[in-house]
Amino acid sequence: MILRLAWRNIGRNKRRTALTLAAVVFAVVLVVHMIALTTGVHERMIEDNVRMHAGHLQLTGAGYLEDRTLERFVRWTPELAAAVDATPGVAAAAPRVNGFALLSNGSASQGVALLGVDPVREGGVSTWPERVVRGAFLGTGEREILLGERLAEALRVDLGDQVLAYTVAYTLENAYELFTVRGLIHAPEPRLERSLALITLRDAQALFAYEGRVSEVALLARDSSRLDETSRSLAAAVSAQSREPLDVNPWPVVMPELAQLLVIDNAQNYSMLGILVVVVAFGILNTILMSVLERQRELGVMLALGLAPREIFRLVYAESLLLCGLGLALGLGLALALPAAVFMEGHPIPIRGDVREMSEMFGFTPVISWQLTAWNPALATLLMTAIALLAALYPAAKAASARPVDALRSL
């Protein structure tokens, strides 16, 4: 009966209800699309970064991330490789040696991060092979090197030229080697492109006196939403194969800056949604309160006839919930049916201008993508329920505390 009464009350002033509904619908559409946009952009940022270099997970010697020196290593044995490859959830694994070297050509010299990569495995995890703009990726050749385009320019070398690498090996002895430039790579960030060179894992192990060792094994997971599970099975699988203690680090630990950036961005978005919710809640409060005040007499009669104040309270709550529920249903329907949503899913929009430049510098594909998850409608539902409950509090209390005598006399 309460529902029927509530329904009738909502229908009493159709214009007012329509305007209130419009506000709720607007809020729901905004919530769903804002979160879908954020999720889409974040997922792409994560995926870009993961695929650019880091991988979803990294297997390293214990404490490697603390100092990133050659002192911490993983013994990359065929048994360990087999154990990693056989771990459920691991899609690909790429062992790497992370060193530093001074590269020079005559008097031009530049310090670089010198990465030793497995030419066959690397492409399974990162996009390095696709980033070769001239020449070719590393293969079976010996003492070949890939340079960032800007690095080659600074060193004044081109394909086929030689550069001298000078470094300090794992044994802390000086090490030198001449490499032939096999290809030039493009990295999104100009500074990165100037300070990066790739050689084969085998050459790196020879240069750094690092036989059988690697600094990290970057892993691509089959399902990026189940990294915890994959981490655990990986840790269990490798512990039997390694004498030294190892760490398995997920990408947020490997790239804390990215993880933090996403947290800050989320904080901004959710504070914005919070403000929106408050504004809409006031709109609902006003509608319900007006409808209660208009019905003073009617409510007074109901109370006089013996309806418990609790029932009145419930009635007002039913109105509020009904209004929000209706708005929610309309809003969700509209949000999901909006041509934008249908189109955006799977149609990233390219961005231009300043923002494009910035996202390229950050290393992101310059597109806006959209990703709808079950979380969006769930969040919208949660927020609207909260609005309905909060907004009805004052009018409901007001209605329930009406004194029949006053209410009847006032007319």
Binding site: L19, F100, L102, V112, L172, I275, F282, N286, M290, M358
Partner: protein, 416 residues
């Protein structure tokens, strides 16, 4: 149409229009108050949120500028396309040319290079920064981050970040060998003692930079009397063109002078993006509020159907009726916006000492974010919501105003 518009404009300035509008709002003070509070809270909290976000970006930029970059930098032309040691300037000549610069608060010569830092236990690639300990303080705050030991107090000393000390496993007083390729292409090296360990607000500075005295760096790289960079502090952050022109004139052709915006385009873009984000945010909030405002106006118009009917019946021009409803909307929004500004700026003022972010500490430090966040409001935070509010007030009153004009006097009177 033109007549109606003229009538509308005339009505807006009439006292009676305002009186009627205020009476309309005062009819249900509780209802008007709720909308007012909604506008005030929505606008006020958005102001605070925007100021906090901008404060974060502004502080990141400020930290980057103050820590190392400076307002302006000068390099030999073409420095971006060559190896670090290839583009050099003459130290004495440059300093002499700048001695009479009046637009600058300070300038500091630097030499940049790269080295392999070696301790008995580890080897790490580092960026070498040679600074003049006396002059550097006039541009950057590097020395203020000193955590342990002393700041380059004697020759053959270096200062490193706590992160680099950890990677090399060295402490104050330990020896570190810097192996480099000097300007002639010879591989060479020299031992330095760790004089001080600093804690810098950026991961790179903390983990991969070694700071030396300029003369030590010049000897190490065999570039006596030469520098690779001049960093400048301007008198005013906002006015960089005059000092830039002055520096460019003093140093002559062959030298490229750039502002921090050009040196760090990412920071610049992030700040520029804020104006666009601001518009979207304020617009979204005001659209949400427009429904509430329209609702109140419409209710007020419907309740006054009789009054409006009478007014129209005795010959009030419809344009004036529209003016009354529009005025009602404008007054409501204006009061809400005023309260919102008061609320928002009061909170911003209350937070002027910053919010403690040390709980986030380490992660944020990598961005160069200090551990206290201070909200910073800009002129855009005043005029963007004002512009959006005016549009909102007009749009929200559209339907109620038309509804009022369409009131048919006879019906309105009969009903009552």
């Amino acid at each position: 149409m033109a007549r109606a518009l003229a009538e509308f404009a005339r009505s807006l300035v009439r006292a009676s229009t305002w009186r009627l509008a205020l009476r309309g709002l005062g009819r249900q003070p509780r209802r008007s108050a709720i909308v007012l509070v909604a506008v005030a809270i929505g606008l006020g909290s958005l102001l605070v949120a925007m100021a906090l976000q901008y404060g974060l970006v502004a502080q990141m930029a400020e930290t980057a500028i103050r820590t190392e970059i400076g307002d302006l930098q000068a390099h030999a032309a073409g420095w971006k396309d060559t190896a670090p040691l290839e583009a050099r300037l003459l130290e004495a000549e440059s300093l002499a040319a700048l001695s009479r610069a009046r637009e600058l608060a300070g300038f500091a010569p630097r030499l940049r290079g790269e080295a392999l830092a070696q301790s008995p236990l580890a080897s790490v690639g580092v960026r070498v920064l040679g600074v003049d300990p006396e002059r550097e303080g006039s541009v950057s705050t590097l020395s203020s981050f000193l955590h342990e030991g002393a700041w380059l107090d004697a020759p053959r000393r270096l200062a490193i970040g706590a992160g680099l000390a950890r990677r090399l496993r060295v402490a104050v007083g330990d020896k570190v060998v810097l192996a480099v390729q000097d300007v002639r292409g010879d591989l060479t090296g020299e031992a330095f003692r760790v004089a001080g360990i600093y804690r810098a607000p950026s991961r790179e500075l903390d983990e991969a930079v070694a700071i030396l005295r300029l003369d030590d760096a010049q000897r190490l790289f065999a570039v006596a009397g030469e520098i690779s960079e001049l960093a400048f502090a301007a008198r005013e952050r906002g006015a960089l063109e005059a000092p830039r022109a002055e520096v460019a004139r003093a140093l002559g052709p062959g030298v490229r002078v750039e502002t921090w915006r050009e040196l760090e385009p990412m920071l610049d873009t992030m700040i520029a993006l804020f104006d666009q984000i601001g518009w979207v945010m304020y617009a979204a909030i005001f659209v949400a509020m427009a429904f509430g405002i329209a609702n109140v106006l419409l209710m007020s118009v419907l309740e006054r159907a009789r009054e409006i009917g009478v007014l129209l019946a005795i010959g009030m021009p419809p344009a004036r009726m529209v003016a009354i409803v529009v005025t009602e909307s404008v007054v409501l929004v204006a009061l809400g916006v005023a309260a919102g500004f008061a609320f928002g700026f009061a909170v911003i003022f209350a937070l002027r000492d910053g919010i403690d972010l040390s709980a986030f500490g380490d992660g944020l430090r990598a961005f160069g974010v200090p551990t206290r966040l201070t909200p910073v409001a800009r002129s855009g935070d005043v005029w963007a919501p004002l512009a959006v509010a005016v549009v909102t007030a007009l749009l929200a009153s559209l339907w109620p105003a038309l509804r009022a004009v369409r009131t048919r006097p006879a019906e309105a009177l009969r009903k009552a």
